[in-house]
Amino acid sequence: MAAGSPVQQPGLLFEKIEDKVVEAQVQRLLDAKKANALQEQPAAPMKEITSFEAFSQMDLRVVTVLRAEKMLKSKKLLKLQVDTGLGDRTVLSGVAEHFSAEELVGRQVVMLLNLAPRKMMGIDSEGMILMAEDKDGTLRLLQPHEAVAPGAVIS
């Protein structure tokens, strides 16, 4: 560098990298590891053999969710109003940590229609919505691949 010649403008050549930035990268790896571990976990073992008679006693239907609301005193429960094709029913479902009320309205889901009613938090729940539980514990709705009339029998 000869005397008198202009030097480059100062400016930071390198910037400090903060803790939270590298922590996020480590977290991404830990997430990948968790996903792998779940992948390798085998599916739940098969239950005991059942009979066709026992199965046919279950009245499984496709129903349409008309309304859904959060229960004031429960973190887990949503109160659903469903159209069963045989009239509307109230069902309490433990899915509030997985779905918002708005997400469910208008959807068709699978319901066990003839489950004995059960009182929860002062309300009669008249049936049960069926879900698939993934390896990591997340719940997924079961829906017909095209819309059907509410009350369609599953067999």
Binding site: V7, Q8, P10, L13, F14, E15
Partner: protein, 517 residues
């Protein structure tokens, strides 16, 4: 041999396999060191051909294509584009990046095979191999699945059990099944062309353990020695496969067979050089055939046998080609204490790094060189990445350059001040500085990039120390001339540093140049 002077350099990086994106292990293994070497040589005004390309043949690509329901060509097109983009993004300065599906490569590799065939270099041998009777196709090892005889894992491949890591041969699997149809494969006779490596033992011992005992890396020599001095010696290796994806075997009886991917892949370096020469109006032949050309292959340790044993045997048989002068293979880079794994997503992907750290290519290049697995497997950790950035690049390199420039800006209107008389500190500093370029060059020429980079940082440290000891921010109050001398000298260190760091930190060098406009 290493004392020889060379007129030109042919530098290659291992052809990356076109079935997935690139991660930091690739970069650390053979792309950053080769690029640093090529940039250094160009800075010294040497004649360099730095070539690479995508490796697009082999059974793993056909498996991937099957899995995704697309053609092998679609698989390689996708990853060729992605890899080429990553190399460009990280400043890997190939003179040419080709691909093994290119017509020129098919022609070059076929010519090689025919040449060796005509010289009677191959043994034709019939062996029994698993055949899928339902699909009517011979099965590559990877297309056979069964129970591992060692650990009982039900989904072991024909060549390896991924559960216990054992190397297997398909016949060892219990209840083998074809992955194509699920049917039980049957053994059927098939003919292949073998290169009898035992014939080359003396030549290879001479070439490697004789001529290069002192200039090749210990990890490379160690592996070669274990191959060359093994009790049962070198074995014949089949150079052909029963497959339809690849370069057709160009001799009578070769119908339905292709060249083994490790026969054609290293020839890909030659094809890439031909393509580069055609595009730039040069003659490719001196780069591969003249004794005063230095041929250097940068690879990872898993490719040593192919570059140090098989490829030299092929080149030697052909006869018109020079042999690799060096094969500075790196060991493996692990990630946070575990082996990098594409299938398990235990990797730092280059395109994701760039999305998360835009403009910070040099930081990664720096960390991967400072922590390069040159002599043993090394570990990349994000904590180390952060520390090297904050405590080395920011606190030493960046801080020194910035201080010198800010003070010059403030006291001398951004112009290099005239120096007065040098004191003992300046004399000592300038004398020390003068020794660095040769020291760094010597390390690079011996493929010791970590060491070379540590000297570059020592150079920056010297500058930092000089400013801390001379304190121009104090002398300015009493002695304008002394301050001018200090900053004049400090700016010489800045200038020297930017040249020395250029092969390692090309983006930083380019940014400095832009600023000085």
């Amino acid at each position: 041999m290493s004392e020889k002077t060379f007129k030109r350099y042919t530098i290659t990086s291992a052809l990356p396999y076109a079935n997935g994106p690139l991660h930091i292990g690739h970069l650390a293994g053979c792309y950053v060191p080769a690029d640093t070497y090529a940039r250094y040589l160009r800075l010294r005004g040497r004649d360099v051909a730095f070539v690479c390309g995508s490796d697009e043949h082999g059974v793993a690509i056909t498996i991937k294509a099957r899995k995704e329901g697309i053609s092998p060509q679609e698989v390689v097109d996708r990853y060729h584009a992605l890899m080429q983009e990553s190399f460009r993004d990280f400043g890997i300065s190939f003179d040419h990046y080709s691909r093994t599906s290119a017509a020129i490569h098919h022609e070059t590799a076929s010519d090689f095979f025919r040449d060796l065939y005509e010289k009677d270099a191959f043994i034709e041998r019939s062996t029994e191999q698993y055949f899928d009777p339902e699909v009517g196709q011979f099965l590559a090892d990877r297309y056979i699945e069964g129970t591992c005889p060692k650990c009982g894992y039900a989904h072991a491949y024909g060549d390896q059990c991924e559960k216990c890591g054992s190397s297997l041969s398909p016949e060892e699997l219990i209840e083998p099944k074809s992955k194509l149809s699920g049917s039980t494969p049957v053994l059927k006779e098939t003919k292949h062309w073998f290169l009898d490596l035992a014939n080359y033992t003396e030549f290879l011992k001479d070439y490697i353990l004789g001529s290069h005992a002192h200039d090749w890396k210990n990890n490379v020599l160690g592996q070669c020695r274990s191959w060359l001095e093994a009790g049962d010696g070198l074995q014949a290796r089949s150079m052909t496969r029963d497959m339809d994806w690849g370069i057709p075997v160009p001799v009578p009886g070769g119908e339905g067979k292709v060249l083994y991917v490790w026969f054609d892949a290293p020839i890909g370096y030659i094809s890439a050089t031909k393509e580069w020469a055609a595009l730039s109006g040069k003659d490719w032949e001196p780069y591969w055939k003249e004794e005063d050309t230095k041929l250097v292959h940068f690879i990872g340790k898993d490719n040593i046998v192919f570059h140090c044993i098989i490829f030299p045997a092929i080149l030697k048989t052909h006869g018109a080609y020079i042999l690799p002068d060096n094969v500075p293979a790196n060991e493996f880079l692990n990630l946070e204490g575990e082996k990098i794994s594409t299938s398990r997503n235990w990797a730092v992907w280059l395109h994701e790094y760039l999305a998360d750290f835009p403009g910070k290519q040099d930081v990664l290049r720096y960390v991967l060189t400072a922590n390069a697995p040159e002599t043993k497997d090394n570990d990349f950790t994000w904590k180390d990445f952060q520390t090297r950035n904050n405590a080395e690049l920011v606190a030493i390199f960046g801080n020194f350059v910035n201080r010198a420039l800010v003070l010059t800006d403030k006291y001398f209107e951004g112009r290099v001040p005239e120096a007065g008389t040098f004191g003992p500190m300046e004399e000592e500093l300038l004398a020390q500085m003068a020794a660095f370029p040769e020291k760094i060059a010597a390390s690079i020429e011996r493929y010791r990039f970590r060491e070379a980079l540590s000297y570059v940082m020592d150079f920056a440290r010297m500058g930092n120390k000089y400013l801390a000891e001379t304190e121009p921010w104090k002398t300015i109050k009493t002695d304008q001339e002394r301050t001018a001398t200090i900053l004049h000298v400090a700016l010489q260190v800045v200038a020297g540093l930017s040249v020395l760091a250029k092969p390692f930190l090309p983006f930083t060098a380019a940014r400095s140049r832009k600023r000085s406009g």
